[in-house]
Amino acid sequence: MKKTQNTLLIRYRNLKGWVLSSQVVVAVLLTMVYPIVFSLILSFTDLKLSLGNIKFIGWSNYIWIFGRDSGFFQALLVSMGFSAVSTLLQTVLGFLIAVMLYFMSGKLQSFFKTAIYLPVVLPSAVVSAMWIMMYAGDEFGLLNIIFGLTNPPFQWLGTVSRSFIAVVTANTWRYLGITMVIYFVNMNAVSKDVIDGAKVDGANKFVIMMRIIFPLTWSATTMNIIMSMIGGIKSFDLFYLFQTNANLTYELTPVSVLIFRAGLGNAQVANIRLALSVTMSLTLAFILMIITLATNKLMSKKGDE
C-alpha cells in the first residue's frame, strides 16, 4: 500500500498515534457509538421521562409511529414540503446571485458576497427574533410599517399557508449565502478560456450562463441540493422558535420539532414516553440516509451524461 512508502521514521508509531488521538477515540465512543447503540436498544422499550422501570415491548414503538395518530407522517410531510420549496428557492436564487457576482469584479464583488453571506453566521435565536419582529401582526410589525398595512394590521402568520411562506422566506434569507458561495467557488474554477472563447464567438451573458456555467457547475448543484434538502428536513430552530415565541400554528410542526416535543421538550409531563422520541429520531436518521444516497446516485448519473 502507498502508506508504507511515505512512512517516516517514528518509533512506537502506532502507540504514539493512538495516544495522540485518544480524545477522538473517547469522543467517538461517547458521542457517536453510545448514542446510536443505546438509541437502538431504547427504541424497543417503554422508557418514560420519569425513568421508572423499563420494559422491553418489541416493535410497539415503531408500529405506533407508523400508525395514524402519531402525527409522524403529517410532520414528515411538513418537513419534506418545506425542504423541497426551500431547496428550489435557494438553488435557483443562489445560482442567479452567484452568476451576477461572477460577472462583477473587484471590491464591489467581495462586498456583496460578504453581505449576502452574513446571515449564515448569525445565531438562530437572533434570526428568529428578527423575523418575528418583521412579521409581528400589530402596528409595530416591520413589514406592516414598510407596506403601510397598519390599519388594520396584516396578520403575516394568520393562516397556515401564509405561515409556511413566512418560515420559508426567513429560512431562505438565512441560508441563501451558502448556496451562493458554493456556486461562486465552483464558477471561479471554470476555465476562463472556455468563457472567453464563447464571448469571441458572440455568445451573450445569458447564453454563457445557461449553456456553459450551469453545466460546468453541476457538482455545485448536486452539493447544494443535497445540503439544502437535508438541512430542510432536519430544520428545527426556526420552526421551534416561531412556535414558542410567535404562535406559529401547530399544523406546521416538522419532524424534528415533533421529536423534541415527544421527548424532553415536554418535560412537564413526566409519563411521556421518551422511547417514542428516540424511535422517531432513528427513523428520521434512516430516512435521511436513504434520501442522501438516492439523490447522490441520481444526480451523479445525470452529471455523467
Binding site: 477522538v24 445565531p123 427574533a129 416591520l142 434569507w173 451558502i178
Partner: protein, 284 residues
Amino acid sequence: MALRQYKKSADILTKIFLGIVLAAIAVTVLFPLYYVLATSLKAYGEYVLNPLGLNFSKLIFKNYAEVLGSKNLLGATLNSITVTVTGVVLTVVFSALAAFAIGVVQFRGSGFLYFIAISTMFFTGEMTYVPMYLLYNKLKLLNTYGVLLLPYLVGIPGLGIVLGANFIRKIPKEIHEAAFLEGAKLRNVFVSIDLRLLLPILSVVAIMTFQSVWSDFFWPMISVMGNRKLHTLPLMMIGFKAADASMYGQYCAGLTIMTLPIVVVYCFFSKYFLQGMSAGAVKG
C-alpha cells in the same frame, strides 16, 4: 484585442444593472440587522414616532445600560463567554493533536479514524440528545456548569481533522523526514513544525467553533434549563418575549450584544468563514 472592443457600452450597462439588483438584495439582507441595531439605540418615545429611521442626535445607550444592569443578562453573557472560550480552546487543541496524529504519525487505524470523523457530519445534537441527556442525568451533572462544558471535552473535532489532516498530507514529506532523521522528538516536531504550519487551519477551526458555540441554544436548553444562573445568552434570548413595543429597545439591545461579537469577527475574517463552510460542505 478583439475581445476588448467587443466589450464596452453594452458591458457597462449590464454591470450597472447587475450592481443595482445586487444592491437591492444586499439591502434586503442587511435591513433586519440595521433595524435591530437602530431600535436598540432609541428611547421608546422616539421609536414610536420614527420606528424605521435613525435620528443621530437622539441616539441613546440607556437600553444597553438597563439590559447589562440586570443581573440575568450580565450573568448570561459571562456564561456564554466562558462556554465559548472553553469550547474554542478545547476544539483547537484536539484538532491540532488529531490532525498531527492522522496526518504525520499515520498510525495503523488512522484512516479509519479519519473516516469516522467525516461521518459525524451526519448526526446532529437534535438526534442524539436523549441518550446524552440520560447519561448526564445518571452522572448527576444536569444543571451544573460541567454539563455546559463537557460536550466540548468529548466532542469530535471533525472539521479540524478533515481540514488539518488533508493539509498536512500536502506538505512535502522531506520537511518531516529531515527532522526525524536528525533524531528530533515527536513532541518537538509537533510544536516547532506542524503547529506553525497548521496555524491557518486552526484559525478556521477556531472561528467556526466560536460561531457555533456562541450561537447554540439547543444543548443549554436541554441541559441547564432548570438553573437560571447557568443560562447562556441564546437560551436567555429565546425565553424572552418582548411583551409589547415598549420593551423593543431593550430586547434589541440584548440581541445586539449577542450578534455584535460574531459580526465583528466575521467582518475581519470572512475568508475563514467561507473556507470553513465549504470544507464542511465537502464533508457532508
